[in-house]
């Protein structure tokens, strides 16, 4: 189940291929993740380096779950850059992360659509 920006292989292993639970996790993610990414974006706007680094750290497990190595790279880079050079220095990285997150969300919505890969019965 590989798509362009995400790979649901970890979720497949996590829920032992149970499509219903994979779809439930994806729905939960689509409910919760926008708030967490907004928090990250707000910290960036406030110039809150510690808050931005902490928000990026909190999101790391989800990049792993979504099978998005680029998202994980960006989150690690944001944390490192922010702590060494301040929040403003991570501006481009945050923009790329938010764009990637939006594309990942689209792919997740497709995955749980009635004919999507995560909606198929086991």
């Amino acid at each position: 189940m590989t798509t362009r920006h995400i790979d649901l292989a970890y979720l497949e292993r996590l829920y032992k291929g149970d499509r219903s639970r994979i779809a439930q996790w994806i729905r939960l993610y689509l409910e919760e993740a926008p708030g967490t990414f907004k928090q990250l974006s707000d910290r960036m706007a406030m110039g809150d380096s510690e808050g931005l680094a902490a928000a990026a750290h909190d999101l790391r497990p989800y990049a792993h779950y979504l099978g998005s190595p680029r998202m994980l790279e960006l989150l690690i880079a944001i944390g490192q850059r922010t702590r060494s050079e301040g929040a403003a220095s991570a501006d481009e990285l945050v923009k790329e992360l938010l764009a990637l997150s939006a594309r990942a969300d689209d792919e997740l919505r497709t995955a749980i659509a009635p004919n999507g890969p995560a909606a198929k019965p086991v």
């Binding site: 996590l14 829920y15 939960l28």
Partner: protein, 215 residues
Amino acid sequence: MIRLALADDQALFRKGMALLLRDMAGAQVVLECANGEELLACLKSDPADIVLLDLEMPVMDGMETMRRLRLEFPAVKVIVLSSHDEEKFITHLMELGANGYMLKTAEPDEIDTAIRSVAENGYYFSDVVNKVVLHGLVHKQKVKPTFNDIDPLSERELEVLRGICQERTTTEIAERIFVSPRTVDFHRNNLLLKTGARNAAGLVVYAMTKGIYAP
């Protein structure tokens, strides 16, 4: 039935974990809490056997929660489930009496293994903990055992300690060294007293740092 409590401020992680554990044979999630304070309050009315504890939480973080759990609910076992793999966190939490420490990115099967191991043997050491302990050993140059270090423990206690390190149950240890399970418990209590460890996890750390056992 193993009663599990989840304490994590991230609803997605908490609910996702509950979803995963829903079908775990012989286990049931009885509590889901968003911080340590909530967990401690809920445990009074809804007892749990094992807590899966996050470190970074508002109101009361995982470290303070760990301290309070050991004081107020000493029988409750704790597996720290964190995204921090730094040595300082792992060492500190194990010193506080955690029974296991895992990363949130652990492979799914490992979560099941950890819960069962902590329920049956009192501890679970993931690869990340093993690496940290071994790294600490190398840096403190404590790998080479000396008889003076081991002297305080009797031969029987050492046998029981090795059995604990090999994840054997009390009954299994008793059968191997031809004594009763009660005698094994007696030696286990002596080991805790002599080493100052808080639980089986602490005994394994002791055994590894003294060169009595290598994973």
